[in-house]
């Protein structure tokens, strides 16, 4: 069963905040939640909306038909007409102005009146709403007014109990950014360096808020970010940087520098539609090949693509472990849809990462060394085992052979590189954020889903085995060319490409219709 509420309004009216409060309260009442956020690149005005879907079992995607539309402005009524049968529209005619005037409330709290009205209509308790407001809006000047607004909105509505009932078990909601943050802190993050760029910025903000044992730093550019990260990691800090496509482009010289200097580096790449500035606040998976190839020269790397908050936690944990152990570049490839959508989730425990620095005279070619412990030289030039520059062809071969060997060693690591779901003769393949819509579609279609978690190293053997067992092969991707499909076809198979590139994520209906 699914029940969907669309919250629409102008940027600045608090649409996302309302959707988040609603998601939290629904979760506490036992509902599984998915909250999709759609907003423009502006701070005031325009039309932003969230679609919150509730269910009695796990869901990971949104619907484009709504049981209720909560319209904070009149435009939202016009735009979002896709109501289900017997669907409700709540706009200012529910009595917003009357309540504001009567109770001498600031106009800014009118959105909370809507929420009060909605909660009563659906049959939620007023207490839950007030508690959530006290928690989320703690310290806010207008909190007292918010609480009055919630009560008055609640009183104004009729309890229609149109929402189906579920067992009351408390469930939490997190977005992918929460997963990255939780994973990083619990993997021993020391330093997060980033220049603001949607949709990686929530991680910067959340890590800034939680600063205590770690620190964050925002320098002048992504060029500074990546080079600072190399300096800090060289000095012994556990470092992560975050960015999106454009910033990642600037960082690519640093990725190449990582390759030759072998200084551990973790990059969180939350991608968005390109090329160029693209549609900055929306979503696409068009940077897969970039993540796999950015940076000149030949050097090993690891690319992990989590598809939900739990996988974000594990991806960061793996990333720190692998980057430190192999002194290698690890890219966590996410996108706006994972980073900014709320999922019902429990964030898993992570493994502790221990690093053996030890003493070595042979710098980074032998093991991780540290300035202060040894004389330790890391270089961007081709260098010998002491880190001294050389133009000797034999040493160039020795160095590149070592890097190739490292790649083979990484391939032998025991890692969950792919995940299989569902039953059926047909096979859907995808990575990252398409996971949610595919899994939800699988409830209604007989089909297996192969989720590629590690794009590099790719588990070719298992992927080939699964493909050989299957009748039809689909690759579902949020891009215009089929970047994963190209990789799969490179393994020697023909696939059908299911592509979406309107800068919006797949819904389960779209996946279902394409693979049926």
């Amino acid at each position: 069963m699914r029940f969907s509420v669309l919250f629409g309004g102008k940027a600045g009216q608090g649409v996302n905040e309302l959707a988040k409060l609603f998601s939290e309260i629904a979760g506490k009442n036992g509902y599984y939640v998915f909250n999709y956020r759609d907003y423009g690149s502006l701070i005031r005005g325009g039309n932003s909306f969230n679609i919150v879907s509730l269910s009695d079992k796990k869901i990971m995607s949104h619907e484009d038909k709504y049981d209720v539309v909560v319209a904070l402005d009149e435009e939202s009524v016009e735009i979002h007409k896709n109501l289900k049968k017997n669907g409700l529209v709540m706009d200012e005619k529910i009595g917003i102005n009357e309540i504001l005037e009567k109770n001498k409330l600031d106009k800014k709290v009118s959105n909370v009146i809507f929420l009060g009205f909605l909660m009563k209509t659906l049959g939620f308790n007023l207490e839950d709403l007030l508690n959530e407001l006290k928690k989320e809006f703690k310290g806010r000047k207008l909190l007292e007014q918010d609480l009055i607004a919630a009560k008055k909105g609640y009183e104004k509505a009729e309890d229609k109990r149109i929402l189906f009932k579920v067992k009351k078990i408390e469930r939490n909601v997190f977005d992918g950014s929460d997963g990255i943050v939780y994973g990083a802190i619990n993997s021993g993050l020391d330093l997060y360096i980033a220049y603001p760029m949607t949709p990686s910025t929530p991680v910067l903000h959340k890590l800034a808020e939680k600063q205590e044992k770690h620190m964050i730093f925002q320098p002048e550019s992504e060029l500074a970010v990546v080079n600072m990260a190399l300096g800090a990691s060289f000095a012994g800090a556990r470092v992560m940087v975050g960015t999106s496509g454009g910033g990642f482009d600037l960082m690519s010289e640093g990725l190449s520098m990582q390759g030759i200097s072998e200084i551990p580096l973790v990059v969180y790449l939350a991608s968005r539609p390109g090329p160029g500035t693209g549609v900055p606040t929306h979503t696409m998976q068009s940077d897969l090949k970039d993540a796999l190839n950015a940076g000149h020269g030949e050097f090993p790397r690891i690319v992990i693509a989590p598809g939900d908050p739990e996988e974000c936690v594990r991806a960061v944990n793996d990333a720190f472990y692998l980057s430190q152990k192999y002194r290698v570049l690890v890219i966590i490839l996410s996108d706006k849809h994972v980073a900014e959508s709320l999922f019902t989730a429990e964030l898993p425990k992570v493994n502790e990462i221990k690093i053996d620095y030890g003493k070595t005279d042979k710098n980074y070619s032998e093991k991780r060394c540290l300035p202060g412990l040894n004389i330790c030289k890391a270089s961007g030039y081709t260098h010998n085992e002491y880190g001294i520059t050389t133009e000797d062809g034999k040493i160039n071969v020795w160095m590149l052979d070592r890097l190739k060997k490292k790649k083979l060693e990484i391939e032998k690591e025991k890692l969950e590189k792919i995940k299989m779901y569902g039953k059926g003769e047909d096979l859907v393949i995808g990575f990252g954020s398409v996971k949610g819509a595919i899994l939800d579609a699988l409830d209604e279609v007989d089909c297996r889903f192969l989720q590629v978690l590690y794009l590099e190293p790719l588990d070719k053997k298992k992927i080939q085995e699964e493909i050989k067992k299957s009748k039809k092969i689909y690759v579902v991707e949020n891009n215009s060319t089929g970047q994963l499909a190209d990789i799969i076809e490179g393994l020697g198979f023909k696939v059908e490409r299911i592509l979406k590139y309107d800068a919006r994520p797949f819904t389960k209906e779209e996946v279902k219709n394409a693979i049926r």
Binding site: F234, G236, E253, G254, S379
Partner: protein, 266 residues
């Protein structure tokens, strides 16, 4: 530790800088607690000749790597070596911002007023109409005065030395390293092949002796030399100011400095 074989041209003033830095390292006992960062250009080769930890950076990125080192372990002494192309062209944004960040580290710029390792192109500090048989491209636009720029950005230690006055260079570099905050030392280092100003600088260089806290005087002194072949060249410390370092503003780093530990030991 086996070091690199020196490949600078015979008579290059970079030899003087190398020898001076070696002496400074010895006199200040820096070897075990120091990390260096070097850029790309003739100056950068110093990386292979110093028995010190460090990173041989990409072109222009000495300063962000240095800043990263400071945040990565605030108990390391961090010394950077950059060229004028490296620092004032490719890496100018980092120079501007690091002047204002005031992290506790020392940036030494080997200024030979030309890109030498790529065989003689102009840099932002080449004099105008810098064009002759060896200089095909020619210099256009205004010449940057990095001393004035650093002063205007609030850099807390600004100095210039001449590579062929070894004793003075050593004393100023020592002061720069001991200064708490961002120290910028420009070393005038004539290129014997592409920009040989040894005679001019040797004749016109003089040591300053004014109140270092006087920013107005510092600006006046900075204005005296416009990186061309006219006038006198003041060397010494233009300006020094005691102010809060970047590290002192982050409790996490203050804590590490108090304990004398890096993040990796926490």
């Amino acid at each position: 530790m086996q070091l690199g074989k020196i490949t600078w041209c015979p008579g290059c003033p970079n030899f003087s800088i190398l020898n001076t830095v070696r002496k400074v390292v010895e006199e200040l006992k820096l070897k075990d607690k120091t990390a260096i960062a070097t850029g790309i250009g003739c100056h950068g080769k110093i990386f292979d000749y110093l028995d010190l930890s460090g990173v041989y950076c990409l072109h222009g990125r000495v300063l962000p790597v240095m800043l990263g080192m400071r945040l990565g372990n605030p108990n390391l002494k961090v010394i950077g070596f950059g060229g004028d192309g490296d620092t004032y062209a490719e890496g100018m944004d980092h120079f501007v911002h690091n002047c204002r960040y005031n992290a506790d580290m020392t940036m030494i710029v080997h200024n030979n007023q030309t890109f030498s390792l790529t065989a003689g192109q102009p840099t932002p500090v080449s004099e105008k109409v810098f064009k002759d048989k060896t200089m095909l491209i020619g210099s256009f636009g205004e010449t940057i005065n990095p001393i004035k720029l650093a002063l205007s950005l609030g850099c807390s230690f600004v100095a210039r030395v001449y590579a062929l006055d070894l004793e003075h260079m050593k004393e100023v570099i020592k002061e720069a390293i001991n200064h708490k905050g961002f120290s910028f030392v420009e070393v005038m280092q004539p290129c014997t092949v592409f920009h040989d100003t040894r005679e001019f600088i040797g004749k016109n260089v003089y040591k300053m002796n004014h109140d270092r806290k006087d920013i107005k005087k510092a600006m006046e002194k900075a204005d005296e030399y416009k990186y061309d072949l006219n006038g006198k060249i003041p060397v010494g410390v233009f300006y020094q100011e005691k102010k809060k370092t970047l590290e002192e503003q982050w409790p996490q780093l203050v804590d590490l400095m108090k304990k004398g530990k890096g993040w990796y030991e926490k």
